[in-house]
């Protein structure tokens, strides 16, 4: 009888603990206020107020990054990337350390991606942006920029001319016709910084997505992995791979949402720095990495190079893998990518 009783007690304890998964509940929140995209936070928290505190903390930090990394708007009392661009060839601009860190990271990313991710490409991207915006507003008269003006602009994209003085915390663009566009790295870099901050505060089991830049902080309660889906570029109902991640970042770059149409042909927003035209190699590239900023830079860079070259680049960086969706919708993987695929 004693044996029976002790077994029953063990059973009750096992069920009690396993059913409440250390007492945490899943919460989600979204914001449309930062980086002109959807930012989502999913976390397992003890209660609603703990989650609200976390989500407000995350959105507040991201809002700060958003203002600093903005290339289109001025904010009272803040020197941001736009301020640096406005002062190109004129004078160094004193900026927050978050900008210095981003630009140092970007220079490093430029070397790592063999020039395919270049934050100094602003002069070229500005032209495409102007044509894309006009084409969206007036589709009947949508036009392509002429290659001559793109080539002329491309002669002002030397990343070496971003002069960073870490001691004085200033940035100076030595070419008056150059400008910065940090769109290929800013969201990923900011996601990495915010993830480090919340991990330091002791949060675990958090998933943050800034417009498709996803970062997993820890795993779900009980240790199970986060299930992250890859979007089907064709939206035709075909099943896409599901990744299982913990303490990893994943970023997708794709051509299928942000585009405009000229004479029936779509022209998207990822511009190949060599061809100066939208890249044509893939429908999307998804990169998994330990570093969200690097995943962001690589996903843009790998979109702009043939598969073999991209695979060789991805394989050369440890802890980094990728999946490519080809124009015919076939899917290719880097050597170690399959470890993340849900069985």
């Amino acid at each position: 009888m004693k044996k029976l009783l002790s077994m029953l007690i063990i059973l009750i304890l096992v069920f009690t603990f396993s059913s409440c998964a250390d007492g945490k509940k899943r919460y989600e929140a979204e914001s449309l206020q930062v980086f002109d995209t959807v930012t989502k936070i999913i976390a397992y928290s003890k209660n609603k107020s703990e989650f609200t505190e976390l989500s407000e903390f995350v959105f507040d930090i991201l809002n700060e990054y958003h203002k600093l990394y903005d290339i289109y708007h001025d904010y009272h009392g803040i020197n941001n990337i736009k301020t640096i661009n406005d002062n190109a060839g004129k004078s160094p601009v004193k900026v927050d350390k978050k900008i210095i860190d981003l630009l140092l990271f970007s220079k490093n990313a430029y070397t790592k991606t063999r020039g395919k991710c270049n934050v100094a490409l602003g002069s070229v991207l500005k032209i495409w942006h102007k044509y894309r915006e006009s084409g969206i507003d007036d589709p009947q008269n949508a036009k392509l920029p002429d290659l001559g003006s793109l080539r002329k602009a491309a002669s002002h994209t030397d990343i070496g001319k971003i002069i960073i003085d870490e001691k004085k915390s200033t940035v100076f663009l030595a070419d008056p016709k150059m400008s910065l566009d940090v769109g290929a790295v800013a969201k990923g870099f900011a996601a990495e910084c915010v993830a480090q901050e919340i991990a330091l505060r002791g949060y675990t089991s958090v998933l943050i997505s800034i417009g498709g830049n996803v970062i997993a902080i820890g795993a779900k309660p009980g240790g199970s992995f986060w299930n992250v889906g890859i979007e089907n570029p064709d939206n035709d109902g075909k099943e896409m791979p599901t990744l299982q991640l913990k303490d990893k970042s994943v970023v997708t770059s794709g051509v299928y949402q942000r585009y405009y149409t000229v004479n029936g042909k779509q022209y998207h927003h990822i511009i190949d720095p060599e061809a100066l035209m939208p890249s044509t190699y893939f429908k999307s590239v998804t990169v998994v990495s330990d570093d969200s900023g690097l995943a962001d830079a690589l996903s843009t860079a790998v979109m702009c190079m043939p598969y073999e070259q991209g695979k060789e680049l991805i394989d050369s960086i440890s802890g980094t893998d990728a999946v490519w969706v080809l124009p015919d919708s076939n899917i290719l993987y880097s050597d170690n990518f399959k470890q993340y695929l849900k069985k």
Binding site: M1, K3, L4, M7, L8, L11, F15, S19, R26, E28, A29, E30, S31, L32, D36, T37, V38, K40, I42, I136, D137, L207, S209, G212, V214, S224, W226, N227, V228, G229, I230, E231, N235, G237, T242, V250, V251, T252, G254, Y256, Q257, R258, S284, T286
Partner: protein, 130 residues
């Protein structure tokens, strides 16, 4: 001395039965929960709609009558039309899987697919780009 006592059989039976009951409760709490679409305007939940309607309907929310949603008989939902300029919301296409979402930034609307109650370990937590 017998190899298995009656009491051992009873214990095994209790364990098996308890596991079965626990598994059943767990399934009821998660996978059985129906899938719904939630529509948020300015971060506030303004409409929840079952995806199990089995008929085609189009509708809008009172806050933004120029944004039209289409709920399909097959259980999917999309932004059908919008007065925004970039139409990224419309291009997001049909949604029907838990974890999918689409947004119309200029109109401050988010459409997302969730379980009515709880979550299932097999559900997607998020879909990249959606």
């Amino acid at each position: 001395m017998k190899f298995i006592k009656k009491i051992d059989i009873l214990i095994i039976a209790i364990i098996l039965l308890s596991s079965l009951i626990f598994w059943g409760i767990n399934r009821l709490n998660t996978t059985a929960s129906p899938v719904v679409a939630e529509i948020y305007y300015k971060s506030k939940l303004v409409k929840t709609i079952s995806l199990n309607n089995k008929k085609d309907i189009t509708f809008s929310i009172p806050q933004k009558p120029n944004v039209i949603f289409h709920l399909y008989a097959d259980g999917s939902i999309r932004f059908e039309k919008s007065d925004c300029r970039d139409k990224i919301c419309v291009r997001s296409g049909k949604l029907n899987i838990v974890g999918e979402s689409a947004a119309c930034l200029p109109n401050e609307i988010i459409l997302k697919i969730v379980r009515k109650k709880g979550d299932s370990p097999d559900d997607l937590d998020i879909i990249l780009g959606k």
